[in-house]
């Protein structure tokens, strides 16, 4: 299983901080596409992190990975 986390406006849109789903074997870009369809999100300017490290769109998700979607940051 995988934990998929949402932050900022994405969390508002999804209505949850995280969802648990088995998405292992998918690439980040395939997962993005799936979420865009399910939740009507726009993820083209959103980064993904796998296990707390930024990940590229072609990274393949493994079982147990935590995936977080990171909108452009605005700390400071």
């Amino acid at each position: 299983m995988n934990k998929i986390m949402f932050f900022a406006h994405l969390r508002d849109r999804v209505g949850e901080e995280s969802v648990t789903k088995d998405v292992s074997g998918k690439t980040i870009s395939e997962l993005k596409q799936m979420l865009e369809e399910n939740y009507e999100l726009k993820l083209d300017s959103v980064m993904a992190a796998v296990n707390e490290e930024f990940a590229s769109d072609d990274e393949v998700i493994q079982d147990g990975d935590t995936i977080a979607f990171i909108p452009p940051v605005s700390g400071g």
Partner: protein, 154 residues
């Protein structure tokens, strides 16, 4: 614990104390505060949210980058989350180095990197609405859809 995300008001002195070292000839402290007017628009308050565990890791990464770049530097950063009012302190960065020029430069580097790679978001609350900053309407922080490779691994 030189790199922290805190829900409580930041004790500035305690951040500075973490970088005190006998080798230092300078400590620079940056204090980021909540501003009332942005492009003429009046902010009532802000909410900061963080992906806390990753944010701490990325702050540590910034510390490592600074130590590699500026010899003898010590770094401490605390960023606050939750509801912040106008004039509240959002972030404190303390850097000590043997010579002052490095302390200024390294401190500036730290805040610029926070704005690139640390997963913290602010939601502006105005008189006429609210908005997460960093979405496509406000800023385009990732023009190519992600932080540049140099931003992530430098």
């Amino acid at each position: 614990m030189n790199f922290e995300i805190s829900k409580d008001p930041i004790d500035i002195q305690s951040v500075i104390d973490k970088v005190v070292q006998r080798e230092a000839g300078a400590i620079t402290t940056f204090i980021g505060t909540v501003r009332e007017l942005t492009h003429g628009k009046k902010t009532l308050y802000l909410i900061y949210e963080a992906y806390e565990s990753m944010a701490v890791k990325k702050l540590e990464q910034i510390g490592t980058e600074i130590k590699e770049r500026w010899n003898g530097a010590e770094v401490a950063i605390t960023h606050r989350t939750g509801k912040l009012d106008i004039t509240d302190v959002a972030v404190v960065i303390a850097v000590s180095t043997p010579h002052r020029a490095d302390a200024y430069e390294a401190n500036r580097y730290a805040i610029e990197r926070i704005k690139e790679i640390v997963p913290i978001w602010k939601k502006e609350h105005w008189e006429d609405g609210e908005e997460w900053i960093g979405n496509q309407l406000e800023t385009v922080a990732y023009p190519k859809g992600k932080p540049e490779a140099k931003d992530l691994n430098e």
